[in-house]
């Protein structure tokens, strides 16, 4: 079967016309540009999608003035944010205050690099892919903590502290639910995980009951990881004004804002990769056309993102102690039992 390898073609082309050192450097730049562009466009489109979906939930029209169906509204908003003054509070820790948004955005960007958009279409495929993903995506919370601490604002500080305890708690559930699926796949490498699903069907079908439990836990914990409602304790606007980014303005605020949407994309992409076969088409209907992989991947991701937006616009917010109760008293024990269940199932060969 002819495999499609966009990255390999470009790689061969660059190394064919340039000396090796220069070629690697050019390749790095190219990858960075591609990912940054994707990052910006995905962020803008997701903000637009969120606003439209929110509008439909709330009996409104949503943005509909700038461009066709309001498509350029988010671009106009981004331009406004770029031109705004970057304010800084008196007696704020200027260095940390300015550093914090970059932590958040870099963490989101790096995590994006191991996700395969299609067969052989990802920045780098390392043998500890899933582990790397979990490790990197939790760096973002450092940015939030720093931003809240350095703002010299009590609301921001409370928001940041809430973020810290929330992310540390729910990290466990995200990690353990992914681990359940790693048991099934037998590999941490993202490409191997997807190959295993090509042969035996999507993991959510292969693993049936424990996989569904793991998926539900992953969705709850993933929503909490991205600090979105009903777990938006960090910026609970009716309690803390705007939470950790109260004092941020202009582009620095936009970084936090975009990072939230990219993190949502990442959580959805992880869910798709380990539960729903990544870029594989459902039941292999377009196996002959591997370039459709990007389409299937993005379609599945958007469905999961829609699910998360659905949560946000219909659920009230939890209280801080209820958030911790949910994690430590319900999700974590369930998760641990689920891992054992999955292991027993694999041992007895009850998987499909």
């Amino acid at each position: 079967m002819k495999t499609l390898s966009i990255t390999k073609t470009i790689h061969d082309f660059i190394f064919g016309i340039l000396p090796e050192g220069v070629a690697s450097f050019v390749e790095w730049i190219l990858i960075a540009v591609v990912y940054l562009t994707f990052f910006a466009i995905a962020g803008l489109l997701l903000v637009y999608m969120e606003r439209k979906i929110a509008a439909f939930f709330q009996l409104r029209m949503g943005p509909n003035r700038v461009g066709p169906a309001g498509l350029f509204q988010t671009i106009a908003d981004a331009l406004k944010l770029v031109t705004k003054e970057l304010t800084i509070t008196d007696k704020a820790d200027k260095f940390l205050f300015n550093l914090a948004p970059y932590f958040v955005i870099v963490a989101a960007l790096v995590a994006l690099s191991v996700l395969p958009f299609s067969k052989e279409f990802h920045a780098f495929d390392i043998n500890i892919g899933v582990f790397f993903l979990i490790a990197v995506s939790s760096i973002g919370v450092i940015g939030i903590l720093l931003g809240g601490w350095a703002s010299n604002n009590k609301y921001a500080l409370i928001g940041a502290m809430r973020s810290g305890l929330q992310t540390i708690s729910y990290e466990l559930s995200v990690g353990l639910s992914i681990l359940t699926m790693v048991l099934l796949s037998g590999s941490l490498q993202v490409s191997k995980i997807i190959e295993a699903q090509q042969e035996g069907g999507w993991f959510i079908l292969q693993g049936h009951i424990p996989a569904v439990i793991a998926f539900m836990i992953f969705m709850i914990a993933g929503t909490a990881e991205t600090n979105r409602a009903p777990f938006d304790m960090v910026e609970a606007e009716s309690e803390l004004g705007a939470g950790f980014h109260t004092e941020y303005s202009g582009m620095k605020f936009a970084y936090f804002f975009l990072a939230e949407f990219i993190n949502m994309f990442i959580i959805a992409a992880i869910a798709v990769t380990i539960f729903f076969g990544g870029y594989l088409s459902p039941f292999g209907i377009t196996e002959a056309l591997p370039w459709l992989g990007v389409f299937w991947f993005l379609l599945k991701v958007l469905v999961i993102i829609f699910l998360m937006m659905w949560f946000r616009w219909t659920f009230p917010r939890l209280r801080v102690d209820q958030l911790l109760t949910l994690e430590w008293k319900y999700l974590l024990p369930l998760n641990l039992m689920n891992i054992v269940f999955m292991a027993v199932m694999i041992w007895l060969n009850w998987t499909f």
Binding site: F57, Q58, L59, R60, A236, T314, F315, P316, R317, R319
Partner: protein, 372 residues
């Protein structure tokens, strides 16, 4: 035994200002919170940011003018506020208004209460983090505001009452539109329950939070849904009927839990009761004059007068001390919001910041009513 204190883990209480500009205070109210981590140690409301000395202005104005000032107190029950002053003046003059006026006043009172509770429900959802409720509530409230607009030209501060009756007769469409609204809202109120009331997170946020006992409710002078959520049957419409409330049958919703969820349920039940009251009256509005003529300059006889009405937030009292001139010598409003707010420290201390917000939402304060 000597107590060992580990200083390295010592925590400090600190204070934060919630307000004057804060999304949860629903206006310019400042709460000085003393907080230990997330736990509230003390709440001190600081008032006066929008004090307009309405009571002093009343001493300057004629009785017809005073009616207009009361719109600006609890702007969500403006019609009921107006009625309180009108009833005081009518009682003092021993002026009998026609049945038509009484019935129309009662219908619009209940429409006002519905509009107010709808707005409260939308904002309640927002306070606990469910932003969608706001738009559902405003969809339905819009219909009531349209009815008001057609009736008297204003949507919020209505000025429809005057001493002696109403400013104008009702619009020919009034009966039909009100019936349409009731038919519409009967299908939409269960939607409110489906969206918010039954939600597990919402119930966890409100059940057992901000508990107010019946004794505390009485001793703090709580009224309205706040008191009825604690089992204190305080409804002025039942206890001291005015206008046409003595000729309609309605229940007074009572819950004994005293928590935020009980107060929430009282208001939802009150919406059903308001609809039933309107249904009983709307088909038989008596014919008659919409106004009883009064003198152009109203002079109340020398003496003291007091009238109470039930607004959407509780008992509003109007005390007038007249010396026989065209202005009151002293006029005092007993506003429900002020007494209800005074409970805040009692019922929120020991809870989390999130509890404070949920409790404040069910107390349903309107700040201009507190700072008159």
């Amino acid at each position: 035994m000597k107590e060992i204190v580990n200083n390295s883990f010592k925590t400090e209480e600190y204070f934060i200002n919630m307000g004057p500009q804060h999304p949860a205070t629903h206006g310019v109210l400042r709460l000085i919170l003393t907080i230990d981590g997330e736990i509230i140690k003390n709440v001190e409301p600081d008032l006066g940011y929008i004090h307009r000395s309405i009571e002093k202005m009343c001493e300057r104005d004629s009785y017809q003018q005073i009616v207009h000032l009361t719109d600006r107190m609890d702007y969500l029950s403006s019609h009921i506020n107006n009625e309180a002053v009108c009833l005081t003046v009518e009682n003092a003059l021993e002026l009998e208004v026609t049945d038509r006026v009484k019935v129309i006043r009662t219908i619009i009172d209940e429409l006002t209460r519905l509009a107010s509770h709808q707005l409260w429900w939308g904002v309640m959802g927002m306070d606990v983090g469910a932003l969608t409720t706001y738009f559902y509530a405003f969809r339905d409230r819009e219909m009531i505001n349209d009815i008001f607009e057609e009736t008297c030209g204003a949507r919020l501060t209505m000025n429809y009452n005057i001493p002696g009756g109403l400013m104008f007769d009702i619009h020919p469409n009034f009966v039909k539109r009100t019936k349409d609204f009731i038919a519409h809202f009967k299908t939409k109120l269960p939607e409110y329950d489906r969206l918010l009331t039954g939600n597990v997170i919402f119930q966890k946020r409100t059940k057992g939070v901000g508990i107010l006992t019946r004794e505390k409710a009485i001793s703090y002078g709580a009224s309205g849904p706040v008191a009825r959520g604690s089992g204190f049957a305080s409804d002025v419409r039942k206890r001291h009927p005015y206008s046409a409330y003595d000729r309609v049958a309605f229940k007074q919703p009572l819950f004994t839990e005293g928590d935020s969820f009980a107060r929430y349920q009282v208001r939802i039940q009150e919406m059903w009761e308001s609809m039933s009251i309107i249904e009983q009256l709307i088909d038989n509005i008596p014919e008659g004059e919409y106004q009883t003529k009064t003198n152009a300059v109203i002079k109340l006889p020398k003496g003291e007068y007091y009238q109470r009405v039930e607004t959407a937030r509780g008992e509003l009292g109007v005390y007038v001390n007249s010396t026989g001139t065209k202005n009151p010598y002293r006029l005092k409003f007993r506003s429900p919001g002020f007494s209800n707010l005074s409970l805040l420290n009692e019922i929120t201390v020991g809870g989390k910041i999130g509890d404070l917000v949920a409790t404040m939402a069910t107390i349903d304060i309107v700040v201009p009513d507190i700072d008159r």
